[in-house]
């Protein structure tokens, strides 16, 4: 059975290493600051006892005032999982660091989010539209897209 | 030397007219031209029917059964349909080459039948170098195929054509070497003489030669498992991707005419040609051709396709050395006079040699998939 790690516990561990980087933590997820996302991701992937080596999915949710990008991580070794979120408040030109360097599986999914939400992932090797053609106006999964 | 002879004496080399034939050489020539064309066209229809029905039944379905009784008219319907289709030539194609390619490919396929005996002496031209003629003519089709691949200016076509050229160039060698064994035993290059010399079918005397010839022949005419020149799952349709209408029909005809030709050659060289009890010789011949073709359908239904580098490796590392060894052993046996005196010993020895060689060679020297070319 995959154990859903408590966000609060993991948040404590992260706070030890990167103080002030966790915005909010709930029973099954935690929200981190955009600036420290990449460091935390690396920590989560490599720290003993966590070792989140498997990225289940990356997705984004449009909450009008911000985009929440959710990373669902799990560890095949310890069989536990966690949802990490980052919030992007910029609506015109939202950007996040790319995690493709850590988990290659994020490659197409980040492109998909870029395509459908317009969130740019800095450091992505090939950030192009994936489903829609270049030059398509707007980003369909945003709530204000009609 | 022989070619000089041939040119110098002209007609002298045609043994031409069977003694009881009414009329002269030209009647013979006209009659057999008509026979050959009719034979090829009807046989192509027949083998298409056999292939589609037989393959259908092996794949647990029925195959075409709506046109005519038992679907026998399906090839006719196909032909009519394909002839009525629009003829599309790609804008970037080399028009002349694109147009000429099916003709160049078709002519040799038809010409092969000039030296194939349908009965004793019943053949268009009893060349005393018949088998050499076949070897020379049959590879000309490749030129047509390559013209098609180049002229279509399509990358799939080009890939298919390049594969075909590579394959044919490699497979000519084991093909010829496998024939030489038969020629040694029969003592003649004339197709009719080879059949006459077969008191028992040469497949018994030359089992390894038969296997080699069958494999190399399949590769030569793009039959599965060597059909990677038109591998539909890889390069769509290979060299005839851009062909439609009449020209596509020509290529389709070439494909099956070549299959019939190889079947006919196999049954002439190894299966005793027109020889057989009770039934008339031409019927025996057709039955044998159909049987050989059915074997090709059977392998096509079952086997996956091999890759281009494996194809080449198979020719050079398996078929070629085996053909050489087969030739060597046969030559020794012929020197010792076995084919006339110790026929049964030769049968036993050759079957043993075949099994032994295949085992040894695939145990120690060659395995399909060895020697991948790294980049």
């Amino acid at each position: 059975m995959t154990v859903a790690l408590s966000g609060k516990e993991v948040a404590g561990k992260i706070e030890e290493k990167f103080p002030g980087s966790v915005v909010e933590s709930g029973p099954d997820n935690l929200v981190v600051k955009v600036d420290s996302l990449l460091d935390i991701a690396r920590f989560l992937k490599e720290a003993d006892g966590l070792e989140f080596n498997y990225l289940n999915f990356v997705t984004a949710v449009d909450y009008y005032d911000h985009f929440a990008v959710a990373y669902r991580l799990s560890s095949l070794k310890h069989n536990h999982s966690l949802t990490v979120k980052a919030r992007c408040y910029d609506r015109e030109n939202p950007a996040l660091p790319s995690v493709t360097g850590l988990w290659q599986g994020a490659d197409f999914q980040e492109r998909e989010i870029y395509d459908l939400f317009g969130i740019r992932f800095e450091g992505h090797p090939n950030l192009k539209r994936i489903f829609l053609w270049e030059g398509f106006e707007g980003h369909p999964l945003r709530k204000d897209f009609i | 030397m022989m070619i000089v002879d041939f040119i110098a004496t002209g007609q002298g080399h045609f043994q031409a007219i069977p003694p009881d034939w009414p009329g002269g050489f030209w009647w013979h020539w006209l009659f057999f031209t008509v026979v050959v064309i009719g034979f090829v066209l009807t046989m192509v229809m027949g083998v298409i029917y056999i292939e589609r029905r037989g393959m259908g039944r092996m794949q647990s379905r029925l195959g075409p059964n709506r046109t005519g009784p038992f679907g026998l008219l399906q090839p006719v319907a196909d032909a009519v349909k394909v002839l009525l289709k629009e003829n599309i030539v790609p804008a970037a194609a080399d028009k002349l080459v694109h147009w000429l390619a099916p003709v160049v490919a078709f002519a040799p396929a038809l010409m092969i039948f000039a030296v194939i005996p349908f009965s004793n002496g019943a053949l268009l031209a009893d060349l005393n170098i018949g088998i050499l003629y076949i070897v020379a003519i049959s590879s000309v089709s490749t030129v047509g195929v390559f013209m098609a691949g180049w002229g279509s200016s399509n990358k799939y076509s080009l890939l298919g054509a390049m594969r075909n050229v590579a394959a044919v160039v490699s497979y000519e060698i084991p093909l010829v070497l496998a024939i030489v064994g038969v020629v040694l035993i029969a003592g003649s290059l004339s197709m009719n003489q080879i059949v006459v010399a077969q008191n028992i079918p040469f497949i018994l005397l030359q089992p390894l030669g038969f296997l080699l010839f069958f494999a190399a022949g399949c590769a030569e005419i793009n039959r599965s498992p060597f059909d990677l020149m038109e591998a539909d799952s890889e390069i769509v349709a290979g060299f005839h991707t851009e062909y439609s209408g009449m020209k596509f029909a020509m290529f389709y005809l070439v494909e099956y005419a070549e299959a019939v030709a190889i079947s006919a050659i196999i049954c002439t060289l190894f299966l005793g040609g027109w020889k057989g009890p009770l039934l008339p010789p031409w019927l025996w011949f057709i039955i044998k051709v159909m049987l050989v073709f059915f074997a090709m359908v059977w392998t096509r239904t079952t086997l996956p396709r091999i890759r281009i580098d494996q194809l080449m490796a198979f020719a050079w590392k398996f078929l070629f050395p085996m053909a050489i060894i087969n030739l060597f052993i046969t030559a020794l046996q012929v020197l010792a006079g076995w084919p006339t005196q110790l026929m049964w010993a030769m049968i036993i020895v050759n079957f043993a040699v075949t099994a032994f060689m295949v085992l040894i060679w695939s145990r120690f020297f060659f395995r399909l998939g060895w020697g991948r070319i790294e980049v």
Binding site: L132 | Q310, L368
Partner: protein, 367 residues
């Protein structure tokens, strides 16, 4: 002697016999050798995630049928799990068993297509494909009996299944179960030991285990690389913890292993169905769930092990009758992440079989 060569770009697809739909690859070739490849998606993009935001929770189920259209039941299953998690719905016992039976049957059907299409890509001229379609047809027949349709079943509902199994279903399933192992043996006889297939597929397109995990590969492709990870076993959903089955793995992670892996998984699925048929209780098949579900505000991720890998639905609710956000984790898309690394340096023919061995459905990639 070194020959100077020049790479050229070949557009494979969107219409190509073996791209399994409208999928396109821009392949850079050096002669026959693949230098680079760039998959191009989007030819079947229907915006299912966007459509789902305007539909009721029940109305999304027909949409999920159209994701991976050869394993519709499994898509329904994953979606219903997510909704049940979100709304806290308890599923009756009999419905759970029906779901497991149906889902495993669907897995067999989808894997049959995967194996058949793979062998077809290897060049076995439609024979294995048609044999496997014959068996798939039997399964589809059973599904037609249950749900009334042959491809888009729309059978599972949040809180159970839409209607009970007809009484002639279990005897027919029994007959199928009796004949299936024989057919599986026949497939193995047809091509398992075939020299040509082994030469073509063994050692081709190797995906190492670390890379597979790093690329978020899931399902049979992951297990063929030697990672023992099956959601049915490691995170049992529904009632999978009650069944006794193995998680087969293969050592090498090449195309042949992926093919064998799928065949082994079919056998395991048969085992699960066998047990479920014995244990199935009687009772209601659908919990009392209103037509319009209003789940509480929150989010849920329901995932299952579908024939292609981990299929998940990430639902965000805002307490209305439609999900605020419905994200689908498409195994087909994510499994393609490693394609580029797997095919580089191999030939065109290998590209086709490596691509075929990953087993994608374009409906799920593009959504």
């Amino acid at each position: 002697m070194a020959v100077r060569t020049e790479p050229f770009v070949l557009n494979m697809g969107p219409v190509h016999p073996s791209t399994h739909g409208v999928f396109r690859m821009r392949v850079t070739l050096d002669g026959e050798v693949v230098v680079d490849i760039e998959p191009v998606f989007g030819y079947l993009h229907r915006g299912i995630e966007k459509l789902a935001e305007q539909r009721t929770y029940a109305g999304i189920i027909p949409l999920t049928d159209r994701l991976d259209y050869i394993s519709s039941m499994n898509n329904n299953f994953a979606y219903c799990l997510a909704v049940e998690k979100l709304a806290g719905i308890k599923v009756p016992e009999r419905a759970e068993y029906i779901r497991v039976i149906i889902s495993e049957l669907q897995r067999i059907a989808a894997l049959l297509i995967a194996v058949g299409a793979f062998l077809n890509d290897c060049g076995a001229f439609f024979t294995p494909f048609l044999y496997m379609f014959r068996e798939r047809e039997r399964i589809v027949d059973l599904f037609e009996m249950v749900s009334g349709q042959r491809l888009t079943y729309n059978y599972l509902r949040a809180g159970g299944v839409s209607q009970d199994l007809p009484e002639e279903f279990l005897p027919a399933l029994r007959k199928f179960m009796d004949m299936m192992p024989r057919f599986m043996d026949e497939y193995d006889r047809l091509l398992q030991q075939n020299e040509i297939l082994i030469a073509r597929a063994k050692g081709v397109g190797i995906l190492p285990a670390e890379q597979a995990i790093n690329c978020s590969i899931s399902g049979p492709v992951l297990r063929a690389s030697g990672v023992k990870w099956d959601i049915r076993k490691d995170d049992p959903y529904s009632i999978y913890d009650r069944f006794d089955f193995d998680v087969p793995t293969q050592p090498a992670g090449d195309c042949y292993d992926r093919y064998r892996q799928r065949v082994e998984e079919m056998r395991q699925s048969l085992r699960i169905i066998e047990q479920a048929m014995k244990q199935i209780p009687s009772g209601p098949v659908r919990a009392e769930v209103p037509h319009l579900i209003h789940p509480p505000v929150g989010e849920a991720y329901g995932r299952i092990e579908c024939p292609k890998g981990e299929l998940g639905f990430y639902l965000v609710s805002d307490n209305s009758i439609a999900p605020y956000r419905c994200h689908i984790r498409p195994p087909s898309l994510i499994n393609l992440t490693a394609l580029r690394d797997m095919v580089r340096g191999w030939k065109v023919a290998d590209l086709i079989i490596i691509f075929g061995s990953i087993d994608i459905t374009v409906g799920e990639i593009d959504r």
